[in-house]
Amino acid sequence: MDPAAIVRVQAEPFSIEAEIARLTRGRTDLGAVVTFTGLCRDEGGALAALEIEHYPGMAEEEIGRVVAEASARWPLEGVVVVHRYGEILPGDPIVLVVTAGRHRGEAFAAASFLMDYLKTKAPFWKKEHRRGAVPGDWVAAKAEDDAAAEKWRG
């Protein structure tokens, strides 16, 4: 049986506990739940807001492919990925990954893998709006993110 896989792209904030409950409610065969929450980080207090653009349709499909890849690599019992778009304020959550497994090893590895892959494969783009600056600047992709995704190959 494929693990429960829930993928959502939304403007609204999310509740970590509610998303965990989707995987764990009524179950007694899970030993480990790992969550990763990515937050809007303001380096140096100059950021007014992030604007996140996405490719509707492909975003959900691409995340689904990354989740399927993780499920093929590790014996997961459930995965949730929620990615937000639109205006995000400093300190606000952007992305949530939840992995559930029987043991901690697979839950940690899969959550880390999912984040590395989402960073480089999911069609989202961040624009930084700085205080007083018009217009905003598109965030440049980081070579270290490519390297992080690359390390899972081979």
């Binding site: 653009e53 492909m58 990615h83 960073k119």
Partner: protein, 83 residues
């Protein structure tokens, strides 16, 4: 086919999507980029740094040498910065 543009590519071209009809000599993603670049200076500016352009065919990542035959939707965007 439907063409979609995202992030700074969208901004430089000045539109998010449009219907395009490419000539028969346009076979690959790279050919579409070259063909669009010739339309006007906005498209030329959007596609000037070919290495920074990612593409998708029918919502699946595609390399620049991928054939576009049969695709109903082609999208162009910079490297992803989500997560």
């Amino acid at each position: 086919m439907r063409a979609l543009y995202f992030a700074w590519i969208r901004e430089r071209i000045g539109k998010a999507e449009e219907e395009i009809v490419v000539p028969e000599t346009v076979v690959t993603v790279a050919d579409v980029i070259a063909w669009l670049s010739g339309k006007d200076e906005c498209y030329a500016a959007a596609f000037e740094s070919t290495k920074s352009i990612r593409a998708a065919l029918d919502r699946t990542h595609a390399r620049h040498d991928a054939p576009i035959a049969g695709a109903r939707e082609i999208a162009f965007f910079p490297p992803m910065t989500g997560g």
